[in-house]
């Protein structure tokens, strides 16, 4: 390796620091003026990095932006990207830990539901971009004996995810789709929702506690008997057979694994 590679690495680390709002004095000395202050030249790149990364966040978290207003969002986004620049080269994957950042961001402490709004929007966005695959018909389970049924693990649609919050996040999100935001009663109860891509759009819908516990457990890769126990704990009258049939009827299941026998299905 060439002896000057560390020098190039040093230069690139300095430029990274300058783009993310850090000290640029050493770097400025390495830049030709060409009729303009080197710091002004550097500012063009800094502006681009901050503007494009902030725009990515704003595109993913529009309701968070609306709740805190544009100026505050720009400030929060800037602080976030300084501390958490993207790791993935695929920029649509940026912002996965923005909600965690907001949870620890002192100026947001007055809005305790804000991190969960961000989690909701992240999940919504993730569902919107993922392709659905061909669902499995319930007839695929015909050969499964009832003793073995409890050990089944279902794989659900890749676009599906589950989200629960102490706060009425669904109502907050919905209210912020309107021009005139109606009042949301923060004490109106928590949120349990399913996200799923449906056709060309993404849908989310509230689930009752039993169904939520059942499907969320399946999505976590738990076997059917454990998912059933989670559901009946929330709702003693929960009808497992009907719930399982419904999972297939709405095309949620795409494959299943029988314990210790590997994946079956397409």
């Amino acid at each position: 390796m060439s002896t000057n590679v560390p020098a190039l690495l040093e230069l690139q680390l300095q430029l990274r620091q300058a783009l993310l709002g850090g000290n640029a004095s050493e770097l400025v000395a390495a830049i030709r003026g060409d009729g303009l202050a080197p710091s002004a030249r550097l500012a063009i790149y800094r502006h681009h990095a901050v503007a494009t990364l902030s725009a990515v966040l704003k595109g993913t978290f529009p309701v968070v932006c609306r709740l805190v207003d544009e100026r505050f969002f720009a400030y929060a986004a800037h602080e976030y990207l300084r501390e958490h620049p993207p790791h993935s080269r695929c920029i649509v994957e940026y912002g996965a830990d923005f909600a965690d950042f907001l949870a620890g961001f002192e100026p947001c402490k007055g809005l305790p539901y804000l991190p969960d709004v961000a989690r909701f929007e992240w999940a919504l966005n993730a569902s919107a971009t993922v392709r659905e695959v061909v669902p499995l018909p319930i007839s695929a389970l015909e050969a499964i004996t009832s003793e073995k049924a409890g050990h089944l693990k279902l794989r659900l649609q890749p676009s599906v995810s589950y989200f629960a919050s102490y706060w009425p996040i669904g109502a907050i999100w919905q209210a912020n789709q309107e021009n005139e935001v109606p009042k949301v009663d923060l004490a109106s109860g928590g949120t349990r929702v399913e996200f799923r891509r449906a056709g060309d759009a993404v849908a989310w819908r509230g689930l009752d506690p039993g169904t939520f516990a059942f499907r969320a457990a399946l999505a976590d890769g738990l076997v059917l008997s454990v998912a059933a126990a989670a559901a009946t704990e929330k709702d003693p009258a929960f009808d497992i057979a009907a719930a399982l049939e419904r999972v297939f009827a709405v095309g949620l299941a795409v494959a299943f694994t029988e314990s210790r026998t590997g994946t079956v299905g397409p």
Binding site: S2, N4, V5, P6, A7, L8, L9, L11, Q12, L13, L15, R16, L19, L20, A29, A30, I31, R32, D34, G35, L36, P38, A40, R41, L42, I44, Y45, H48, A49, T52, L53, V56, P85, P86, H87, S88, R89, C90, I91, V92, E93, A128, T129, V130, R131, V133, V134, P158, R197, D200, P266
Partner: protein, 287 residues
């Protein structure tokens, strides 16, 4: 998941004009099937099982596709990101593109991806490093690459090699092709007061595999030109393109438009204009 192999892409005698495919235009392109020589996509937007990929796999049945990488960071001082190259290769295998390209730039260091095509100092050391990375990337992707000249807003004091020479030497050492971005040459030439025609003349004509055309704007409080892919192609860029046609002959030519996306018709209008210039060039050559 279907394991069925994709049908082979159509083959065209491909020196025509294409446009960048952006998701908001995909449904209209699929419905209208405008006459275009190819579609180009940014590799990183299609590396997951997304709706965007679904559209691309549908459109590739009717259009040859060019895959343009923006984040491989071939000018990065650290080792190449093998995970990223693996995702890139998987996309290439799925789409079977007619061209694959990347940039003379870097964009990641110390685990941070900076979402921009950042400038290199043009020194012997960076030429060695960049050429080695181009060779490694070509081996990892199993394809020759076209390398695009960047637009730039700053130059380093310790640069010793003119950019056109740097690019020509990279092509000589690695057998890569060159993606000649006419707007980038114009923007950098204005920003640093060099002769854009001399830049074209310094590139090896036989290495030019594609041309990019795009818009730019003047920065607010300076007279720096900013390459933004967000407006119509400026008249002086069309004129430089005509000079490029005379120098390089016909090569696949792309209309790039990534920000402030206009209706599809505006892009198609720019593509028609580029095609008219190509046709005029061809007639002049035949006469």
């Amino acid at each position: 998941m279907s394991t069925q192999r994709n049908p082979p892409p159509p083959t065209l005698p491909n020196c025509g004009t294409g446009i960048g495919l952006r998701l908001p235009h995909a449904a209209e392109i699929a419905a209208v099937r405008p006459r275009l020589a190819f579609l180009e996509v940014h590799a990183e937007n299609y590396m997951a099982e997304t709706v965007a990929l679904e559209w691309l796999l549908e459109l590739r049945r009717d259009y040859p596709v060019s895959i343009h990488g923006v984040a491989s960071s071939l000018g990065g001082a650290e080792e190449l990101d093998r995970i990223h190259l693996g995702r890139f290769k998987a996309l290439i295998e799925q789409v079977e593109p007619m061209l694959v390209s990347e940039h003379l730039a870097w964009s990641a260091v110390g685990g941070a991806y900076l979402n921009d095509l950042l400038p290199l100092p043009y020194t012997e050391e960076s030429l060695d490093l960049f050429s080695r990375h181009v060779t490694e990337a070509q081996e990892a992707l199993g394809r020759p690459l076209l390398i695009e000249n960047p637009s730039s807003y700053l130059r380093f004091r310790h640069s010793t090699i003119p950019e056109d020479e740097f690019l020509a030497e990279t092509a000589r050492r690695t057998s890569c092709g060159i993606l000649c971005d006419i707007n980038n040459i114009y923007v950098s030439a204005r920003n640093f007061a060099f002769d854009p025609i001399a830049y074209l003349d310094a590139l090896p004509a036989e290495a030019i595999g594609e041309i990019h055309l795009a818009g730019h704007h003047v920065a607010d409080d300076t007279d720096i030109l900013i390459d933004d892919h967000g407006s119509r192609i400026a008249q002086p860029v069309w004129e430089l393109h005509a000079a490029a046609l005379r120098r390089f002959g016909l090569v696949p030519t792309l209309i790039e438009w990534d920000t402030n996306l206009p209706p599809l018709n505006v892009l198609l209008g720019e593509a028609r204009h580029a095609q008219e210039l190509a046709d005029v060039h061809q007639c002049a050559g035949a006469a």
